[in-house]
């Protein structure tokens, strides 16, 4: 149990081990640990950022959706209004057309009647002439005179 030269040997071994550890063991291990910690920290920060971005994007999308809905409702409203307007206009126009057609029909009928009346008149005139001719013929036949006239009158 005495102190012997073993002490010197162990002291040298101790020194060598510590130096080796200091050169080849500690720096790479500690460096890797620290680099990994940094990496994890960065990753967490990035994920935080992404989460915030996502939240923002969702909010924005919801806003845009709301806006689009409002726009669509607006457009539909306008279209409805326009449709009513067109229907009204068309109704008015149809009404006018109808009246116009009816008026035309009336005037045509009027013209036809006028024409027929004229024709009749002409026929009456002709008949009158024919009647007169017959009467003239009856100058010879006195007796027959009066009944021809009567006949004419009846024919009128």
């Amino acid at each position: 149990m005495n102190l012997t030269a073993t002490l010197i040997g162990e002291l040298i071994a101790f020194t060598v081990f510590v130096l080796f550890c200091m050169k080849y063991v500690w720096p790479p291990l500690n460096g890797a640990i620290e680099a990994r910690q940094k990496k994890i920290e960065d990753g967490l920060a990035a994920s935080d950022r992404a989460e915030k971005d996502l939240e923002l994007a969702q909010k924005k999308a919801a806003e845009q959706l709301k806006e689009a809905k409002a726009q669509a409702a607006d457009i539909i409203e306008q279209a409805k209004k326009r449709a009513t307007l067109i229907v009204d206009e068309e109704t008015v126009r149809g009404q006018q057309e109808r009246e116009k057609i009816i008026a035309q029909g009336h005037s045509e009928i009027e013209a036809e009647r006028n024409r027929v009346t004229e024709e009749l008149r002409k026929k009456v005139a002709t008949l009158a002439v024919v009647g007169a001719e017959k009467i003239l013929e009856r100058e010879i036949n006195q007796a027959a005179h009066s009944d021809i006239v009567e006949k004419l009158v009846a024919e009128l």
Partner: protein, 285 residues
């Protein structure tokens, strides 16, 4: 097998004796021939086991260091990095200066001392008996003349070497940080000081005595604490090993308890090393 009668005390004595090597006039001599070789004796079992375990430590950690990257670590890598982080955290918490030596030093001490202490858990007769068998068969020695003490930290040379290494670093750091004047002032101008110059001259020897004792007590406490704990533990293992069948439960209980001692002593040695070096490098006394 053994020529002389084996008594309990000779059995214990045999367990507590290192394998020695020394050079005499007739060349290299071993064990009993080295009884009066004085200082220049080498405890070859202590040297072989401690250096072997130190190489195991370096090999394990070096192979982890080679594989170290920032990707997802494997289980082995995680385990090694856990130890490195544990030591690194302790160093950061305790040592506030900047030094690239303290952390590797603490890691080396912690793991090396732990591995050497761990040898205590190998049943006490296994390796010495195996060494005796090999000595008898291969070298024709009397197996009782083959010594094998497998726990290097039960050799005061081992713990003293660690403590002296730390002591040298303590003085080195103190001089490096505070300068040689600062170091000497710390030794001589505290804890008693006086504004009176004459009084101060009178106080300097008292201070020097107190501070030197305080300084030297540190490596002594380091070396003797580790040595004492492990030596006592080893001795109790040897005693338990000598009581026959009853040793089985006793050995289990003592070994389970000793696991604590093994880790704790390694940790305490590391922590105190950091604390002493931190005290040596801090300016305010």
């Amino acid at each position: 097998m053994a020529a002389e009668e084996v008594t309990l005390s000779s059995h214990i004595q045999h367990h507590l004796t290192n394998a020695k090597m020394c050079s005499t006039d007739a060349g290299l001599a071993f064990n009993k021939a080295c009884a009066d070789s004085g200082f220049w004796t080498w405890n070859i079992d202590t040297l072989a086991w401690s250096i072997g375990l130190g190489l195991v430590f370096l090999w394990i950690f070096r192979s982890a260091a080679k594989k170290a990257n920032t990707g997802v670590p494997g289980k082995f890598q995680c385990f090694i990095e856990m130890i490195v982080e544990f030591v690194g955290d302790n160093v950061r918490d305790t040592y506030h200066g900047k030094s690239s030596l303290i952390a590797p030093l603490a890691l080396t001490i912690f793991v090396w001392v732990f591995l050497m202490n761990l040898m205590d858990l190998i049943p006490v007769d296994f390796l010495p008996a195996f060494a005796g068998f090999v000595g008898e068969q291969a070298f024709g020695m009397d197996s009782h003349d083959v010594y094998m003490k497998i726990v290097p930290t039960t050799d005061i040379n081992m713990t003293a070497a660690l403590a002296i290494g730390v002591f040298i670093l303590m003085i080195g750091y103190a001089i490096k940080i505070k300068g040689i004047g600062g170091f000497l002032a710390e030794l001589t101008l505290h804890p008693f000081s006086s504004k009176n110059k004459l009084m101060m001259v009178f106080l300097i020897p008292c201070n020097l005595l107190l501070e030197t004792i305080a300084l030297v007590a540190k490596p002594f406490s380091l070396a003797l604490r580790l040595f004492g704990n492990l030596y006592a533990g080893e001795l109790i293992f040897i005693l338990i090993g000598a009581v026959g069948l009853m040793q089985l439960p006793l050995h289990f209980i003592w070994a389970a308890f000793h696991i604590l001692v093994i880790v704790l002593q390694a940790f305490v040695f590391m922590m105190l090393t950091i604390v002493y070096l931190s005290m040596a490098s801090s300016d305010n006394h």
